[in-house]
């Protein structure tokens, strides 16, 4: 069996970024495995601009952003193989993959970086009743049809879910000549970025109906319309508000799920909150030498954060390969508290400057983010506004962490007590 120092599974922005960072940290024997016929991952179908504002200080389209990384990968002559599907990963880091040239082959890796991205929740997870006529797509599938194959999925659409992909597709379909009747959102707030609500919906006069859902999809062979209704505070449809909307297409944009089949096969312990692996500050999972970054670890809305995380994982893997790593007997455990859905990393095993990424459970106007150890406040930060759709961060300095090794840090929200209640 061939042995390779570092195998990266997935050639999207996470995989490419991690491979580049590992190379720059001194690893030379690297192989990136990608199942698609090109590098770039999901960015290849995200042709709108707005990528890379944090990182490159300019607005790039998805393919342009991916190309910057592919160029760097090629300049370093980092090996990659396309049209290669990874089928299995074992706990001792044996990778089983398959492609047309080599058939099924196995590689023993010293370290592995998981960068398989995420996929969309399919309709099955939705339990919308009604027949199953043609014309129902996930927003991502519609995006691939239009932006890669040049095929329009319909003329009159209703979009369920106001996540970013749904919003982007509302504009895209409008610009390609379709009529987007409305975007429906089950929650009382949108899960998408504000800029997308402005530039995709407001610009094109597409109504966003909050606290609304589809209760029935009509049509025998092709979708002929949907029945929509407002929902109450328990998200139950109020049938007295039901009305029919004619359309030939329904796009579902109801969330993303990290693609962790391989992670589970390897027996990597998972976090139920992120649906990804439990990791330390270097993005190493609980199996030494297996790392994870990007959307396979937790769903990111901005690719800039994916790239940042990929660098951390790439450097971490390089350190593991070149220097080995002694497991720390005394790690800091990080966990979500009041108002926080998840935190990442879940473990910090060295007192070094660490950014904790987290998501909140609800929209809040003005809040304080408190990191505490027991009842002691470790640090406090103000935010003018937080929302579940936008990832938040707090940075803790290594000098501060020093005093908390072996303890549990909780990240929680505290409303600013303006009204004295």
């Amino acid at each position: 069996m061939k042995t390779i120092d570092l195998v990266v599974i997935g050639g999207g922005p996470a995989g490419m970024g991690a491979a580049i960072a590992a190379y720059d940290a001194g690893v030379r024997d690297i192989l990136v495995l990608e199942r698609d016929h090109r590098l770039g991952g999901i960015l290849e179908q995200c042709i709108h601009n707005g990528f890379g504002l944090h990182r490159f200080k300019e607005e790039l389209t998805g393919p342009e952003y991916a190309w910057r990384f592919e160029k760097e990968l090629r300049e370093r002559k980092i090996a990659f193989r396309l049209d290669t599907m990874v089928l299995d990963l074992s706990e001792d880091k044996v990778i089983t993959a398959m492609n047309a040239e080599e058939g099924i082959f196995r590689i023993q890796a010293k370290a592995v970086i998981l960068a398989m991205g995420c996929r969309e929740r399919p309709r099955g997870a939705l339990n919308t009743p009604g027949t199953r006529p043609a014309g129902i797509y996930t927003a991502g599938t519609a995006q691939r049809y239009i932006n890669i194959m040049g095929y329009m999925p319909g003329k009159k659409a209703v979009i369920l879910g106001s996540g970013d992909i749904g919003l982007i597709m509302a504009r895209r379909m409008t610009w390609e000549g379709a009529k987007v009747e409305m975007v429906l959102e089950l929650m009382p707030y949108s899960g998408g970025l504000t800029r997308n609500i402005v530039q995709c919906l407001k610009d094109n006069d597409i109504p966003l109906l909050l606290s609304h859902t589809i209760v029935e999809i009509h049509g025998k062979e092709r979708v002929s319309g949907v029945t929509i209704a407002q929902v109450d505070e328990n998200r139950k449809p109020m049938m007295e508000t039901a009305r029919f909307v004619e359309c030939d297409t329904v796009l579902l944009s109801v969330g993303l799920l990290p693609e962790n089949e391989l992670t589970r096969k390897a027996g990597v312990p998972m976090d139920v909150r992120t649906s990804g692996a439990l990791v330390d500050q270097r993005r190493m999972t609980e199996i030494p030498g297996i790392f994870a970054c990007g959307n396979v670890l937790h769903v990111h809305d901005l690719v800039d954060y994916v790239s940042e995380e990929a660098e951390i994982a790439g450097r971490g893997a390089a350190e593991y390969i070149l220097q080995g790593s002694e497991p720390d007997p005394n790690p800091v455990t990080v966990r979500p508290g009041n108002g926080v859905r998840y935190t990442l990393p879940q473990r910090i095993d060295r007192a070094e400057d660490t950014t904790i990424f987290f998501r909140v459970t609800d929209v809040h106007p003005a809040v304080r983010i408190r990191v505490k150890a027991g009842e002691e406040t470790v640090l406090m930060r103000k935010r003018p506004r937080v929302a579940p759709g936008e990832m938040e961060t707090v940075r803790i300095l290594g000098s501060k962490l020093q005093g908390y090794m072996g303890q549990t840090l909780t990240v929680e929200l505290e409303e600013e007590a303006e009204h004295g209640t």
Binding site: I47, N49, L53, T61, I148, G150, R195, V198, Q199
Partner: protein, 116 residues
């Protein structure tokens, strides 16, 4: 009169309040940085957007393209119509001009993907 504009120059999405007297801007508040003020001003006077879409590729498939500078928002349908008429011959590289000076706007439509 007050107009509320959500700055979209970065993911912060600040709510910027522009106070107007007749056609004159009196004050701009709520922005976190200078870009927010510039954005609010241009949203009031001449809103612009970067245009991204695709053009047909001879032999099948599509090529993602974008405007190399923001275009006036109100004329976007007109630009789209023009772009949809185009078919490109590969090879095309990122940055190649697909339509020069679209509709006399001074802005080019350029390739945003390599097709070899």
């Amino acid at each position: 009169m007050e107009r509320e504009i959500i700055c979209t120059s970065c993911p912060m999405g600040c709510h910027v309040t522009v106070t107007m007297e007749e056609e004159r801007i009196i004050s701009i508040t709520g922005n976190t940085c200078a870009r927010g003020e510039r954005y609010a001003r241009s949203e009031i006077t001449n809103p612009t957007r970067t245009l991204t879409t695709t053009v047909a590729v001879a032999g099948g498939g599509v090529l993602p393209v974008k405007s190399d500078a923001p275009l006036p928002k109100k004329s976007i349908p007109q630009y789209l119509e023009k772009i949809h008429e185009v078919t490109v011959e590969p090879p095309v590289l990122i940055g190649d001009v697909v339509i020069e000076d679209i509709c006399g706007s001074g802005v080019n439509i350029v390739a945003a993907q390599n097709v070899i």
